[in-house]
C-alpha cells in the first residue's frame, strides 16, 4: 500500500491537516471546517454525477435530512444529544429519504432525473417550510453543542469547541469517508457503475442490473451527503429550510464542477475553494450571486474539467514535455 507515491501524498496531506488549527485564525479555521463538511458532501455527490452519470439537482434534500435529524433530536430528545447517537441517526434518516426518493428517481435518466430530484427536494422544502411548529419553518432551529463520547461541552463557546476536539473529529470523519469512497469507487461495484455511465445498454447486456445499481449508488450518495449535513450543523449552529431548496442543491453541483467531477479528489478541492469563494464574494459585494454565476459560466465554457482536471492535464503536459526532452 505504501509503495505507491499517491498514498504517501495522502499521508503527508493528512499530517499537514493535523496542524491546521495552529496555523489558521479561528475565522479561517471555521471556513476550513465548512469546506471539509462540504468535501464529504462532494465525495458523495460525485459518486452519482462522476461515476454513475446521473445529475441530481436535489441533493440538498439529503443534506437537510442529515442536518434536521441532528436539530430535531436536539430539540425533542435532548438526552440523546451526543454525537455517537446523532451521526448514526443522520445516516439512518438520509438513508430512508434517499431510498424513498431514489426509488422514484432512478426510473429516469438525464434531464428527467434532474427535474425529478429537484422537485422532490422541493417537496421536502415545502414540508420543512410549512410545518413551522415542528421544524421552525423559515426561522429554522438552533443547534446546541453536542456531547462527544461522554464529554460534555456545556459552558464552552462554539469557537473553542470548533477549534479543539471537533476539528479532529471532523478530520477523522473526513478521512474515513474518503477511504470508504475510494474503496467503493475501485471495487467491482464502482467499476459496474462506471460501466453503466459509459454505456447503459452494454452494461445491461453483460448482466449488470442497471436500475438496482443506480439505486444503490443513489442511496450511498444520499448517505454521504446526509453525513456531511449532520457534521455541517455543528459548525453552523443553525439549520433552516433553505438547505433543501434547489438553489442550495445547485451550489453542491457547482462545487463539484469547480473541483472537477472526473476525479475522486476533485470535489474536495472544489468544496474548499467554493467555501472561500462564496464567503469572500459575500463579504466584499452585495452581488455575490453575480460573482458565483459568472465564475460558473466561465468554468463551464473554459474549464469543463474543473480545477483538478486542469491541474491534472497540466501535469500530464509537463510530463510529456520532459519525456520528449529526454528522448530527443
Amino acid at each position: 500500500m505504501f509503495k505507491k507515491p499517491r498514498w504517501i501524498v495522502y499521508l503527508l496531506i493528512l499530517i499537514g491537516l493535523l496542524f491546521i488549527p495552529r496555523l489558521l485564525s479561528i475565522y479561517h479555521l471555521m471556513l476550513f471546517e465548512y469546506g471539509l463538511t462540504f468535501a464529504i458532501v462532494g465525495l458523495g455527490f460525485n459518486l452519482l454525477l462522476g461515476y454513475t452519470g446521473l445529475l441530481s439537482f436535489g441533493h440538498g434534500a439529503y443534506f437537510a435530512a442529515g442536518a434536521y435529524s441532528v436539530a430535531m433530536i436536539g430539540k425533542y430528545f435532548p438526552h440523546a444529544y451526543s454525537i455517537e447517537i446523532l451521526i448514526p441517526a443522520a445516516l439512518f434518516f438520509s438513508l430512508v429519504l434517499s431510498v424513498i426518493f431514489g426509488f422514484v428517481c432512478v426510473r429516469h435518466t438525464k434531464i428527467f432525473f434532474s427535474i425529478l430530484t429537484l422537485s422532490l427536494s422541493m417537496l421536502l422544502f415545502a414540508l420543512l417550510f410549512k410545518l413551522y411548529h415542528i421544524t421552525g419553518g423559515s426561522d429554522g432551529l438552533r443547534v446546541p453543542l453536542p456531547a462527544l463520547f461522554g464529554m460534555s461541552f456545556k459552558g464552552i463557546r462554539r469557537p473553542e469547541f470548533l477549534s479543539g476536539t471537533y476539528y479532529y473529529f471532523l478530520l477523522g470523519m473526513f478521512s474515513v469517508s474518503f477511504l470508504v469512497m475510494k474503496g467503493i469507487v475501485s471495487s467491482p461495484f464502482g467499476k459496474a457503475l462506471q460501466a453503466i455511465r459509459d454505456n447503459e445498454i452494454r452494461a445491461e447486456l453483460i448482466g449488470i442490473r442497471v436500475r438496482r445499481y443506480r439505486l444503490y449508488a443513489f442511496i450511498i450518495s444520499g448517505m454521504f451527503v446526509g453525513l456531511g449535513g449532520a457534521l455541517w450543523t455543528f459548525v453552523n449552529g443553525h439549520v433552516t429550510a433553505d438547505l433543501s431548496h434547489w438553489v442550495f442543491s445547485g451550489e453542491i453541483v457547482y462545487m463539484t464542477l469547480l473541483g472537477g467531477f472526473g476525479i475522486l479528489e476533485g470535489p474536495i478541492i472544489g468544496a474548499i475553494l467554493f467555501t472561500y469563494l462564496k464567503l469572500y464574494a459575500m463579504g466584499n459585494t452585495q452581488y455575490w450571486m453575480f460573482v458565483i454565476g459568472a465564475t460558473l459560466i466561465v468554468l463551464v465554457l473554459l474549464l469543463p474539467n474543473g480545477v483538478a482536471g486542469a491541474i491534472a492535464s497540466l501535469l500530464a503536459k509537463i510530463k510529456r514535455k520532459t519525456v520528449k526532452g529526454t528522448t530527443c
Binding site: 422514484v104 453541483v253 452581488y287 454565476g293 465554457l301
Partner: protein
C-alpha cells in the same frame, strides 16, 4: 375572507369547512383557472425550449421575473394619465424585454451548449439564473414594485352571486389567445412545422437543410417571451419582488414532468391539474397544499413514467 378560512387550519376542521363553504366552489374554480392560465404560459415557454433545443432552462424563472419587473416599472412610469388601453399595452413590455434578454442569452451563452453534455447545459443555465437574479437586483433594486392600476381599473363582476375581479378573467382570456396562437403556429405555419421537425429529429432536420441555429434562437426568444408575458400578467395582482420567479419555475417543472416533455396538450392538462390542486388545496388544507401537489405528481409518474402525454 381570512376568518372564513380559519377552521380549515386543522385536519378535523377540514370537514366542517367543506360543508360550510362548499358554495365558494365557484370562486375556487375560477381561481384554479387563473392559476392554471399563468402556469400554462410559463410552462409553455419552458416546454418549447425543452422540446426544440433539448435544454432545460433553469433561468426561466428569472425571465418571468424580468417580465414582471419590466411591466411593473412601465406601468408606474406611464402613470394614470394615459388612456386605459395603453396601460394594457404596457403589459406587453414584459414580453418584449424578456424576449430581448432571451435573445442575448441564446446568442452569448446557450448556443455553445448544443453539443455539450447535460451536466454542462444545466449548470450553464443555473449560472445564468444566478447572474440574472443579481442583474435584476442591480437594475430595479431590492424594493417591491406595486402596479395594481390595470387590476383596479377593470373593477369587479358578479358571477353566480360571488364578486370576482375582471382582471383575472382578462388573464384567462389573454392566455387562451396565446395558447390558440401557439397551437395554430406550431400546427399550421411553416415556421412551426420546422420547429417541430427539429424537436423530433435534430440530425434529420439539419440534413433537410433547416437553419438550426436561427430556428433555435427563435424558439428560445419565443419561450423567454412567454415567461416574460406570464410575469407581466401577474404583476397587477401581486407586487414584483426579488425571487418572484422561483415558485413559478418549480411549478412549471412539475407541469412539464406531469404533462410530458414537449407536449402542448400535456402542458395544458398539467397546468389545469396544478391549478386546481393549488386552488382547492389552499382553501381546504393550506398547510400541505404544496406537498399534496408533489404527491399527485409523484403518483402520476410512478404509474406513467413518461408523463401523461409524453412520447
Amino acid at each position: 375572507m381570512f376568518s372564513a378560512l380559519a377552521p380549515a387550519r386543522t385536519w378535523v376542521g377540514a370537514r366542517v369547512f367543506f360543508e360550510e363553504e362548499l358554495e365558494m366552489w365557484v370562486v375556487y374554480t375560477l381561481n384554479a383557472l387563473y392559476f392554471a392560465a399563468l402556469l400554462f404560459l410559463t410552462s409553455l415557454g419552458l416546454n418549447i425550449i425543452l422540446g426544440v433545443m433539448g435544454i432545460l432552462n433553469l433561468a426561466h424563472g428569472s425571465l418571468y421575473a424580468i417580465g414582471a419587473f419590466m411591466a411593473a416599472w412601465t406601468i408606474i412610469a406611464i402613470g394614470m394619465n394615459v388612456p386605459t388601453f395603453f396601460l394594457f399595452i404596457s403589459l406587453l413590455s414584459g414580453f418584449v424585454l424578456a424576449g430581448i434578454v432571451g435573445f442575448l442569452m441564446e446568442k452569448s451563452l446557450i448556443r455553445f451548449m448544443y453539443k455539450r453534455t447535460l451536466e454542462y447545459q444545466l449548470l450553464l443555465t443555473f449560472g445564468a439564473l444566478l447572474l440574472l437574479e443579481d442583474i435584476i437586483k442591480m437594475i430595479w433594486g431590492g424594493q417591491a414594485y406595486y402596479a395594481s392600476a390595470p387590476f383596479d381599473l377593470l373593477g369587479k363582476v358578479d358571477i353566480l352571486g360571488h364578486i370576482y375581479p375582471i382582471y383575472f378573467l382578462f388573464v384567462m382570456f389573454i392566455t387562451c389567445l396565446a395558447g390558440l396562437f401557439i397551437w395554430f403556429f406550431m400546427g399550421r405555419t411553416k415556421l412551426g412545422i420546422m420547429l417541430r421537425a427539429i424537436s423530433l429529429d435534430r440530425e434529420m432536420a439539419t440534413g433537410l437543410g433547416l437553419d438550426i441555429g436561427r430556428l433555435s434562437t427563435f424558439a428560445f426568444v419565443l419561450g423567454s417571451g412567454l415567461a416574460g408575458l406570464a410575469g407581466a400578467l401577474v404583476v397587477p395582482t401581486t407586487p414584483a419582488l426579488l425571487g418572484i420567479g422561483m415558485e413559478p419555475l418549480i411549478l412549471a417543472f412539475i407541469v412539464v414532468v406531469v404533462g410530458g416533455l414537449g407536449s402542448l396538450k400535456g402542458a395544458l392538462v398539467g397546468s389545469l391539474l396544478v391549478g386546481f390542486t393549488r386552488s382547492f388545496g389552499i382553501a381546504i388544507f393550506p398547510e400541505i397544499e404544496l406537498p399534496l401537489l408533489f404527491l399527485i405528481a409523484g403518483i402520476i409518474l410512478v404509474v406513467k413514467p413518461e408523463g401523461l402525454f409524453g412520447r
